[in-house]
């Protein structure tokens, strides 16, 4: 049996954890989610740095990320070699890929030209780090592409099996239910940007053709950030150079020995060299005295730093154009009251869209301007915000969507519904409908109807219930637009509003009783 190194064991553990948490980021019968994949983002230094820079405040959720950055001072890029799930995926597939040799264009300062503009944009309140964050890239590829693909494939076969054997399929139910309950997404959802998400992921895999961990050492902004910190790292491999009599490290090392000198910034602490050194010379030890701290690798030039930050300004300020027509329909998840603050904190990880109970949240393409690409928007015609559900706030790693109690979330305003009399059936066709009123979850009903006597198109007098919206009660959940029986354009539509002050609490409270006399039988 193959023996795993400690680093590999840790990698496999965290990859498994990541996938398990990914599957747990879903409604499973309880109002609260026990654990979600957001832990990976909260412990992500890049997320922490860019979000806190953009929001200009300390965000307690992201403390683990800061700690990870401090830890990198001692342990270098151990995150990349021991934890990062994307790195693990690369390590697992790279052995099957023949190498063509490094791409010159990716050498040098390119990685800084990715990292600094991202952080620079944060200084101007646009949080873009998530676009190239490795965990976010992986999560979005899973959420928007792989998981739906799995669901569609399995469910599709299950359906066609029914076409073949009919009700006899029931015998296989237990096995399918296991799959359905633990592995598959609840419903089939098609996401915009699925292609881009998958493409970026496959591109990163494709780069493995050139050298091992190309993405990690040449591009990844998270790795670059950790690499910068690890310059001051205390845990060092000795000897720092290839030994002239052996040079085995050149083959063993996945990231750092493309030159004579070990590239500290790229070392991911996998410890392969120490474990497999033929003469047991290579080892890792803490060095505190300055003279041992050779600063290897190219120094970060000042013009790269300044240039990078300046491009951050350019990026932050040049993609802000927003089409007003699309703005009127730009609905954010519940609890988001201010677009500017939202853009500071949203890291575009895709978790809210993964967890959304009714598949109501989708990544924006241009709806929020180019600056808002991949941020979540609510599309009521595809799914509405479930009245009693608070999952998106629970999983948001940065608090961009606040984690609210159900009663508070129910009062948060997403938008306001407006009846379109040209389409709405009781107005346009003069026949009854009122499906929107039926579904409106507000106990006092934000959609009500009045009985109107009209002359029908056949000349007879008809009494029709026509809906109207009570703005003071509407929270813009979008169920009305979602269930409107009209095909295509709905007869009622939720529009964005600037003033998202929460609805007032219901005035007179219902008789409070903890005892629920109908709460299910107990035996």
């Amino acid at each position: 049996m193959k023996k795993f190194s400690p680093a590999r064991l840790s990698q496999l553990f965290f990859l498994t954890l990541f996938l398990v948490l990914f599957l747990m980021t879903e409604y499973r019968g309880s109002d609260r989610i026990v654990a979600a994949v957001n832990g990976f983002f909260r412990a992500n230094p890049l997320t922490a740095a860019s979000t806190m820079l953009a929001a200009r405040e300390y965000i307690p959720f992201l403390l683990p990320g800061l700690l990870m950055l401090v830890l990198a001072l001692f342990l270098g890029r151990f995150f990349c070699g021991w934890i990062c799930p994307l790195g693990t995926v690369l390590d697992l597939v790279t052995v099957k890929i023949r190498k063509l040799g490094p791409i010159m264009a990716l050498q040098g300062n390119l990685k800084y030209w990715l990292l600094f503009p991202l952080l620079g944009a944060s200084l101007f309140q646009v949080n873009l780090a998530g676009l190239l964050d490795p965990i976010a890239l992986l999560l979005r590829a899973l959420t928007f592409f792989f998981h739906p693909l799995l669901g569609e494939t399995v469910r599709g076969s299950w359906r066609s099996l029914y076409g073949m054997v009919g009700d006899r399929r029931d015998m296989l139910d237990p096995g399918y239910h296991l799959l359905r309950d633990y592995l598959l997404p609840f419903r089939e959802t098609l996401y915009p940007l699925a292609f881009l998400s998958a493409l970026l992921f496959f591109l990163i895999l494709f780069l493995e053709r050139y050298e091992r961990r190309t993405w990690c050492r040449r591009l990844c902004p998270l790795g670059t950030l950790l690499g910068l910190v690890s310059r001051f790292g205390l845990l060092r491999r000795v000897p720092a150079k290839l030994c002239s009599d052996c040079q085995a490290c050149r083959e063993l090392c996945p990231t750092s020995f493309d030159q004579e000198l070990l590239q500290t910034e790229a070392c991911i602490l996998c410890m392969e060299c120490a474990l497999k050194c033929p003469s047991q010379r290579a080892r890792f030890s803490f060095r505190f005295r300055k003279k041992h701290r050779l600063n290897q690798g190219q120094m970060l030039e000042r013009r790269v730093l300044l240039g990078g930050l300046l491009s951050g300004l350019v990026i932050a300020k040049t993609f802000r154009f927003r089409d007003p027509e699309q703005q009127s329909l730009l609905l954010r998840p519940p609890g988001v009251r201010n677009e500017g603050e939202f853009l500071e904190k949203c890291v575009r990880c895709g978790e809210c869209m993964k967890v959304c109970l009714r598949s109501a949240l989708y990544p924006a393409l241009t709806q929020a301007g180019m600056e808002g690409i991949y941020t979540p928007i609510l599309v009521p015609r595809l799914g509405y915000c479930e009245y009693n559900c608070t999952l998106c706030g629970q999983v948001c790693p940065t608090g961009a969507i606040p984690d609210l109690a159900a009663a508070a979330k129910q009062r948060e305003v997403i938008g306001k519904a407006v009846v379109d009399k040209n389409h709405c059936i009781p107005f346009a066709k003069r026949t009854d409908c009122i499906v929107c009123e039926e579904h409106c979850p507000i106990p006092q009903k934000a959609i009500r109807s009045e009985i109107v006597e009209l002359l029908g198109f056949d000349g007879k007098v008809v009494r029709v219930k026509q809906p109207y919206v009570v703005d003071e009660l509407c929270n813009g959940c979008g169920i009305c637009e979602n269930v409107c029986p009209l095909e295509g354009k709905a007869g009622i539509k939720v529009f964005a509003v600037k003033d998202r002050t929460p609805l007032k609490e219901p005035s007179a409270t219902a008789p409070a009783s903890d005892e629920d006399p109908y709460g299910g039988s107990s035996g």
């Binding site: 409604y27 009854d432 029986p485 008789p511 109908y518 709460g519």
Partner: protein
């Protein structure tokens, strides 16, 4: 008088003696059992017993569908969904009568997972042998042609069609469009397709559905009723506790009686009235045998 003449006479008579003929051919005397009691399991059992017990409807080895209202993501106290104790008792009675399998499902309006959990019905039936609480699967809907007054065809859930016995267990509540939703409307839970479109001509559409698809037994949960802001409610001030269970083999008669709980006449409800006019059952309370237990 030869056969042809006889048919002519009868046909002719039917023009003038419409109601007389209806009485002749209608099921003689619809019976509605009304049970009262704060112990809802016991009350449900009493109502079923008053109709002759579950063994009258369920024979050993049969597959039964029990169709409660699980339409909304509301706790049982809000009276938007069927009382879980009632559902459980009906299922138990089916099993006692020898049912091989009891299937419980509804096509929900809110998220199905949340509805099944919040209604308490999933939890109430958990772990019972021979009971399946399941979400409808879209491939199981079958298109049924009716050529009715409002609907030409519609999709019915396959498992409801193939079941030996179909027991309809609605909750009595207010409804924005039809004023009340009772047994007739609860059958919408086994329809597929664009159900919203049915609302355009709801009473005729429901009569179409119920004339093709018959509930063998209707048990209306009026342990508590939703009197306003239905069918979803959400305010306990709209809920009234009545501790009643209404059961009948005549879905129109059951609905007709339940209407009185809201202080309304059966003829006030267009769905009930239309069903009666189309001969689906009895709605005149003085012609219904009401057994109070």
């Amino acid at each position: 008088m030869n056969r042809r003449r006889f048919i002519k006479v009868v046909g002719f008579c039917s023009l003038f003696m419409h109601s007389w003929l209806r009485e002749l051919f209608a099921a003689p005397g619809s019976t509605v059992a009304v049970a009262r009691g704060a112990d809802h399991a016991e009350t449900t059992r009493k109502a079923i017993a008053a109709l002759g017990g579950m063994q009258r409807f369920v024979k050993p080895g049969q597959t039964v569908v029990v169709k409660p209202n699980i339409g909304w993501d509301r706790a049982p106290a809000y009276a938007a969904t069927t009382n879980p104790t009632v559902v459980r008792t009906v299922v138990e009675e089916c099993l006692k009568a020898g049912a091989k399998k009891v299937k419980v499902f509804d096509r929900t309006c809110n998220d199905p997972r949340r509805c099944y959990a919040s209604s308490g019905i999933e939890a109430a039936l958990k772990g019972m042998k021979g009971v399946e609480v399941k979400h409808p699967e879209e491939e199981r809907y079958k298109t049924v042609t009716v050529n009715g007054k409002a609907l030409k065809e519609f999709e019915i859930y396959g498992e409801a069609l193939t079941a030996d016995v179909y027991i309809n267990v609605p909750v009595a509540k207010h409804h924005g469009l039809s004023r009340l939703t009772l047994g007739m409307k609860n059958v919408m839970g086994i329809l597929g397709g664009n159900r919203g479109a049915i609302h355009k001509n709801l009473d005729q559409a429901l009569a179409d559905v119920n004339s093709v698809f018959k509930s063998h037994l209707t048990i209306i949960d009026a342990t508590r009723i939703l009197t306003d802001h239905g069918p979803q409610g959400g305010d306990l001030r709209d809920v009234r506790v009545l501790n009643q269970i209404i059961a009948s083999t005549d879905i129109v008669a059951a609905d007709a009686y339940a209407t009185t709980l809201f202080g309304l006449k059966p003829s006030d409800i267009a769905v009930t009235r239309t069903a009666y006019q189309r001969g689906l059952g009895e709605m005149n309370l003085d012609k219904i045998k009401i057994v109070k237990v």
